[in-house]
Symmetry: C2
Subunit: 358 residues, 2 copies
């Protein structure tokens, strides 16, 4: 097997949600086939891929057959069971690599990695048991947030601590899971950099976007972010350092706080990222295509932006706004093929072209 | 059934080649499912659609089941047997409509329609039998081209007549098929306009591109075409007149010759068109998405161009140039998932971003 996968090769994707679906669409453009692995028979990516395996992540024979049928394996989410990864990795390369996954799966490992790289994070302290709570909050100060070390996303597995008196109740809500306390960071805005690194070590980043959240879920990303050029460059360089330190192959999402004393890393996601969806209509090569190029061993496309874009997530009942977006001729609509609308469920997004590149 | 198909609806596509494949990818972005109908079990669109029927176009029960399973039917090629269309149309709407198909399926009907609309074509004359040859060539002059009225594409079904003495041999090569003689047009270049019309009659056109052919097959399209603004506007208005006259719904390709006395229509294609592939990386809404929006009854996106693009077809062994295109970071690569390379076969195309919009 050569490093550069030829057209007609198959990319295996763990997870068939909207990210897997958009990766599969990008792979198809490049003449590559996709085999999706997802426990859910209604997985959105199943509508657009060449092959799908519907099986749980502990089904060893399904995992083995999946790995045998593909040329390389990637994933759309970071909480993949270790045993599944071990089994797959013995058969086919996994990109991004296991270290990138291990680092981002655990908030303690991630923050330690970032600090050791000389990058700033929020102050944090480990809480292995209730006895660690007091000293942890002394380290971070209050208010603080308790977060489970693993399996958190979209604000889940988190509890606020306004004063030390709240600590016990907040910790109890995490049900004994290994956790960290995280201090608050005073920031003017959150931005993110979507970066990519190829098998030969080249790095390409997209322009940072500014993110707006509500209820722990991303709502909007605006590009360009209203930042001085020096900060924009800092953000991109910082993403490049993370990619190189992890010997990363693929696309990464790096969330950053803009503070009076510079950039603070909030978290990293070893995959395509919701805050990079704007690239589909802001760049010739979007994050999904860039990711597939990287994991297939292809050279990267450039990250040049041709338009100013506002990405608007359609969450739950936001899908009711569809007629308004359909009637805006400068809006590109992306829907995920989910039959059922539920509160908090990501149903689609819209990339509104605001202007040619400003 | 309302006119505007909601997300989750199914678009039926007759033909699963590269055009069907790229329509299916666009439909997926919009949250619509696709059901492809193609006699070839290896049809490229089969790798990316929700459902595929592999059956010939005279299989009535397969056609009926196909039509029943979808909400609207469109197509990627114009030479669909009339009986198949009759059967489908009794069950589901076909867009673009039968008149658009009938007009473009027959060169005589097409040229007559265009002339009646006040648009210029090459001089032409009908040849129903060998006895018509002499008077036909007297009408068109020589050199001329004899063309079968139906089923011609990429230069097939054509024969040149340099002098009247060549006429008999040229006509014999068409094997008695109903034909026309077409006179030569002195032109400086060929351009094409990709236009779209929605169910409510709105028209949106993309910027005209300049086409370069070789051996009867499109090789390159360059956008913008080097035209004075007045001609560019003429081209777009002319496409709009054709769309309105046919009460058209969907995307059309209109090929035009640029001559010293203005624009002459070469031919129209009632479908997405190879010379519109540049829109995938030159516009926020590409021709495939625009077509699906139209046939699904959605409002159209705008046709604004954000970049200057050169579209390069990869035909047959051109696929050997893939490494060069992969190494050009400003080139977006589109491959069609065809396993076998054959001379003259369209394997993919590349959209090279030349510059932001000039």
């Amino acid at each position: 097997m050569t490093d550069l996968l030829p057209p007609g090769s198959t990319v295996g994707i763990l997870g068939g949600g909207q990210l897997g679906r958009m990766m599969a669409l990008a792979a198809a453009r490049l003449g590559l086939k996709c085999h999706i692995y997802d426990p859910d028979p209604m997985a959105p990516a199943g509508q657009v891929c060449d092959q799908i395996t519907t099986a749980p992540y502990d089904d060893k024979s399904a995992l083995e057959a999946f790995a045998q049928s593909v040329d390389v394996v990637t994933y759309e989410f970071e909480n993949i069971p270790t045993d599944a990864l071990d089994l797959i990795e013995a058969i086919r390369p996994i990109r991004p690599n296991r270290r990138a996954l291990a680092t981002s799966q655990d908030r303690l490992t991630e923050k330690t990695f970032l600090n050791e790289l000389g990058l700033k994070t929020a102050p944090f302290a480990v809480i292995d048991s209730a006895g660690d709570l007091e000293s942890a909050l002394a380290t971070t100060g209050t208010p603080a947030i308790l977060k489970t070390r693993r399996f958190g996303y979209d604000g889940k597995g988190q509890a606020r601590v306004m004063t030390t008196a709240d600590g016990d109740a907040a910790y109890a809500s995490l049900k004994g899971a290994p956790a960290i306390a995280e201090g608050f960071v005073e920031f003017s805005c959150e931005i993110s950099v979507i970066g990519a690194r190829s098998l030969d070590g080249s790095v390409v980043c997209f322009d940072p976007g500014m993110n707006a959240h509500s209820e722990g879920i991303l709502r909007r990303t605006t590009v360009p972010a209203p930042l001085p050029n020096a900060l924009r460059t800092d953000a991109v360089l910082l993403a490049g350092r993370i990619l190189n330190a992890l010997d990363y192959v693929g696309v990464i999402g790096v969330e950053l706080f803009v503070t009076p004393t510079g950039l603070v890393v909030n978290e990293i996601a070893p995959r395509v990222h919701n805050s990079g969806h704007w690239t589909q209509n802001g760049c010739a090569i979007c994050q999904f295509e860039q990711h597939i190029r990287a994991v297939a061993g292809w050279p990267l496309g450039d990250g040049q932006r041709h338009s100013d874009v506002e990405m608007i997530n359609l969450i739950g009942d936001d899908i009711g706004d569809l007629p308004r977006h359909q009637n805006d001729p400068s809006s590109a609509i992306h829907l995920y093929g989910k039959a059922e609308t539920r509160p908090g469920r990501k149903m689609g997004h819209v990339n509104r072209i605001v202007a040619p590149k400003g």
